[in-house]
């Protein structure tokens, strides 16, 4: 039926992502990244991707896996440390990087999901981020005009989801997953727990299924911790 967004697995979910595609990938650091979909993208071997993601993973996990296989042409991120292969490709000119402020990144996603093609933000005024951008002054404060993203695919990871694509995230794994889920022309959600409609409380849904086109229950989540810190 038309409202059932379920696909079998990550491979089926990403089947039509082609070389040269622009993809949003949710997560902050390694928290809440779409692990299964990244594995499937590596297996598919799709190339020349433009990836919009707050970070670029680490050498052997997350988007780092797609860097190892040289599938990424361009990263649009706010912070890309912790990744030696990334650095190598950047310095060698193999990889293009566009660094943008984190709030601008998140808001460019949100605005795409809200059908607002551009918005003013004070972030980056007077910096190299402002190069080539329109500015506007309101009440004595200067703002840059930033565009909503226009991405073919958004791939996000949620905690729970139902067959209609309604999503609930857990804790700080919500991060970019929620605004990116709203921003994709085609949004793919992988979830830890896929449930039937009626099993989620309609008051607790973070992203309504109208924004989600494909959903599947992922498997073998590693959920790697980047900086394990515990109390003394």
């Amino acid at each position: 039926m038309g409202l059932n967004k379920c696909v079998k697995n990550a491979e089926e979910a990403i089947h039509d992502i082609q070389d040269g595609a622009t993809i949003m990938l949710g997560g902050f650091g390694l928290c809440g990244i779409p692990e299964n979909s990244i594995t499937a993208l590596v297996a598919k071997g799709v190339k020349n991707l433009t990836c919009i993601s707050n970070n670029a993973g680490v050498d052997d996990f997350g988007i780092g896996l797609m860097l190892q296989t040289k599938q990424v042409k361009k990263m649009i991120s706010s912070y890309v440390g912790e990744n030696a292969e990334f650095e190598r490709q950047l310095l060698s000119g193999e990889l293009e990087v566009e660094l943008i402020p984190q709030g601008t990144l998140a808001t460019r996603c949100l605005m795409a999901g809200y059908g607002i093609p551009f918005f003013p933000t004070p972030a980056g005024v007077g910096t190299e981020v402002a190069d080539g951008k329109d500015t506007v002054v309101r009440n004595g404060k200067t703002y840059l005009i930033e565009d909503a993203f226009d991405a073919e695919f958004a791939i996000v990871k949620a905690w729970k989801g139902d067959t209609y694509g309604n999503l609930i995230f857990k804790d700080t794994a919500r991060n970019f997953n929620a605004p990116m889920a709203m921003a994709g022309k085609t949004t793919i959600a992988e979830v830890e727990h896929l449930v039937n409609i009626g099993e989620l409380n309609p008051n607790e849904i973070h992203v309504p299924g109208i924004y989600v086109h494909r959903i599947f229950e992922g498997s073998n989540y590693e959920k790697r911790i980047e900086q394990l810190t515990v109390r003394n």
């Binding site: 991120s77 706010s78 709030g103 601008t104 804790d171 515990v230």
Partner: protein, 219 residues
């Protein structure tokens, strides 16, 4: 000798007021959380989507889904709330965060800050720093007064690529406390064992010593 990092954090903690929502950057700013004065309540905002950041978890209780902006495992506190990155920077941009503390490579006498990029070195990105400095009403910088080569980081103008303009309100370094005024840096406190002469020698930007400049009280 000047202050150590913990003492800088301790001094900044005195700027906290009861009921403040506070964003603490990575490095020395994070340490401020260890010195919240008794008798006041503040909420720590982590820009990856949490109000009410608690301490690190007890070993074995860490949760990969619960981290701070430095990607460290953390905990929540009673009254915590999660939200997405768009709302997080929404509340920052709307000025709802009362105090932002962050590190810097350079601060200019007009309040400009540079803390994200060093030409010739691998650029990791600005993360949320440009959003924070462009939006926060009250920004305190925590940093060493000089770089490793001994060069002043309190400058007439930033040399490094700018993170934000006219935004820093106060700088706390190992040597003292410096308010940004229209006349440049105003030294209102100096570290124990640090002379005014040393501060003058190590401050390249325009510097005024407050008439009532006092010795910082740190443990």
């Amino acid at each position: 000798m000047g202050l150590n990092k913990n003492q800088i954090a301790q001094r900044i903690a005195k700027e906290l007021q009861d009921g403040f929502y506070v964003n603490l950057g990575i490095g020395i700013p994070t340490l401020v959380a260890n010195y919240i004065p008794h008798g006041i309540e503040v909420v720590l905002q982590s820009e990856n989507g949490l109000l009410g950041m608690g301490p690190f978890p007890i070993a074995g209780h860490e949760d990969a889904d619960l981290i701070n902006a430095g990607k460290q495992t953390i905990t929540t506190l009673p009254g915590s709330a999660f939200f997405d990155s768009a709302m997080s920077f929404g509340m920052i941009r709307a000025g709802k965060v009362h105090l932002t503390v962050l590190g810097a490579m350079e601060v200019a006498e007009n309040g400009d800050i540079a803390n994200w990029k060093v030409p010739g070195k691998m650029v990791k990105g600005m993360g949320g720093a440009m959003d924070l400095v462009a939006s926060a009403k009250n920004i305190i910088v925590a940093m060493q007064h000089t770089d490793k080569a001994g060069n002043s980081k309190l400058l007439p103008a930033c040399h490094l690529p700018i993170t934000g303009l006219h935004c820093v309100k106060k700088v706390v370094t190992d040597l003292g406390v410096f308010e940004i005024t229209k006349d440049g840096f105003l030294c209102t406190e100096h570290a124990p064992d640090v002379t005014i002469e040393e501060i003058k020698a190590k401050t390249a930007g325009k510097l005024t010593i407050a008439a009532d400049c006092k010795i910082m009280e740190v443990a």
